[in-house]
Amino acid sequence: MTASALPERLLLALRHACLGYGAEMVLDDVHLDVDAGEFVGLAGPNGSGKTTLLRSMLGLLPLQGGSVERHLPRARLGYVPQHASLDAYFPLNVWEVAAMGAYGRLRPWRLFPPSERQRVDRALVRVGLVHLRRAVFFHLSGGQRQRALIARALSADPALLLLDEPFAGVDRDAREDIARQLEGINRRSRLAIVICSHDGDLLARFCDRVIRVSDGHVHGGIRESV
């Protein structure tokens, strides 16, 4: 099933959510909706809790209170981490990194089927990296690595794509390129995207809706019409 085949509906919702690590509360009483086909920005200064919010939405971080509703299987959450969080000692080329997105659909003993290879190739085409498929992942620039990780997330055939600071360590031109590519993916396939960044101006230019995260709270997490 592709993202475009999804009905217009609520994909993910947080209600009265309290988020944090152990005894440390980072965000309190969070209300947030993400609908199918939306392009949502999470803006806020460094350390405001954007990554905490994103990880809680993914289920990587348990809630300390409140609830999260996910109206899609976990495997259809596409996650793009910060490229600096990955260990550069792994000998991986771009195609191998992008192919990891398809691992969830493959049984352990199966070879990589041609249909999945094509899906990975298509994901690399969508992010404009197919010509670098054999390049060493950790030899790429920050922007190219980020695009390879977006291709990895797309290989998982997600219904909702969540990106953690995709502009970190990326020059200004590359930021614009990444934002434009994400906008194109969102418009063409109606894939819902949530992107967090401290660059609120950039998010405002490309996103349908920008949610502000600051002072331990989330502002504008639910559409006004809702």
Binding site: R74, D87, F90, L92, N93, M100, Y103, G104
Partner: protein, 294 residues
């Protein structure tokens, strides 16, 4: 040296099973160790062999003081029983060490390297203590520590090959899951529901590999074969499959060449193989440096 190679590769050579054992050990240990190196768990590869050696020493001690019965009637039987007990002790202590490390990890028992350092000191001390109280244990354990694989029989070689073939098959079948769990734990959570299963599988495979490796070649040589070939291979490759293939071939290469050197110059096998392994690491990094400048 060519003469030494010809002699040790002759099937009629007295130590031929040990030669083959060194090659098998060199082929398989680097594949397991390749994951240890990538996961930045090299110290685990140092500590677990020490636990395995302590287990072997404990088994010999327990046999000697009568904690386990002496059913053997001939000296051959007694030797076989001692070897079997030592294998059991090695496996038992390896998994006990892994369990201890896992439990202290869950309990927040400090940083990973400090826990491993304490565990290494404990295992090393236990091994020496068991040998010290065992009246005839010195010779057997000294051979183990030096990495003298020369006592390997055909039967033991068959057992080693069978178990290592199974370990390799598991690593090949679950290569994607093990890679993903090592590289990106968040992605593994999303696509496979978590990393527990894959971490457990990897540690089981590593435990079996290390326990048997230590019984055949001692803790130092097992550690060296686990980590030196992957460290040598890493700067020369840029993809996962070549990384494991080059590591494995390098391990087999230094296993065989080390045996030939030890035979030719009448030096201990373990240090001969490890010295070659270290030379290989230096050569590989020098070669990678030269290639990157071109």
């Amino acid at each position: 040296m060519a003469q030494a190679f010809a002699e040790i590769l002759d099937p009629s050579f007295l130590l031929f099973p040990a030669v083959l054992g060194s090659i098998v050990l060199g082929l398989v240990c680097p594949v397991v160790g390749g994951f240890l190196v990538l996961r930045r768990s090299v110290l685990l590869g140092l500590t677990l062999p020490q636990f395995a050696a302590a287990g072997a020493a404990f088994a010999l001690f327990a046999h000697e003081v009568g904690l386990v019965p002496h059913p053997g009637h001939t000296s051959g039987d007694a030797h076989q029983i001692e070897r079997t007990l030592a294998y059991g002790g090695s496996l038992l202590f390896t998994f006990a060490g892994m369990t201890l490390l896992a439990l202290t990890d869950r309990g927040g028992g400090g940083r990973s390297e400090t826990r491993l350092a304490v565990a290494y000191a404990l295992a090393g001390s236990l091994m020496i203590l068991f040998v010290a109280v065992h009246p005839f244990g010195d010779a057997a354990i000294l051979g183990l520590v030096k990495g003298e694989a020369v006592v390997l029989s055909w039967r033991e070689f068959a057992a080693l090959s069978t178990v290592y073939a199974a370990v390799t098959a598991c690593l090949v079948v679950f290569r994607r899951e093990l890679l993903m769990a090592s590289f990106d734990r968040d992605l593994t959570f999303l696509l496979k529901g978590g990393t527990f299963t894959w971490d457990l599988l990897f540690h089981l495979l590593a435990g079996v590999t290390i326990a048997l490796g230590v019984m055949m070649a001692g803790p130092l040589l097992t550690f060296g074969l686990l980590v030196l070939p992957p460290i040598a291979a890493r700067p020369l490759v840029s993809r996962m499959a070549p990384y494991f293939i080059v590591s494995s071939l390098a391990g087999a290469g230094i296993g065989l060449t080390g045996f030939a050197v030890a035979y030719r110059f009448d030096v201990p096998l373990g240090p001969a193989i490890l010295t070659l392994g270290c030379a290989l690491v230096l050569a590989a990094h020098a070669l990678a440096g030269v290639l990157s400048h071109k």
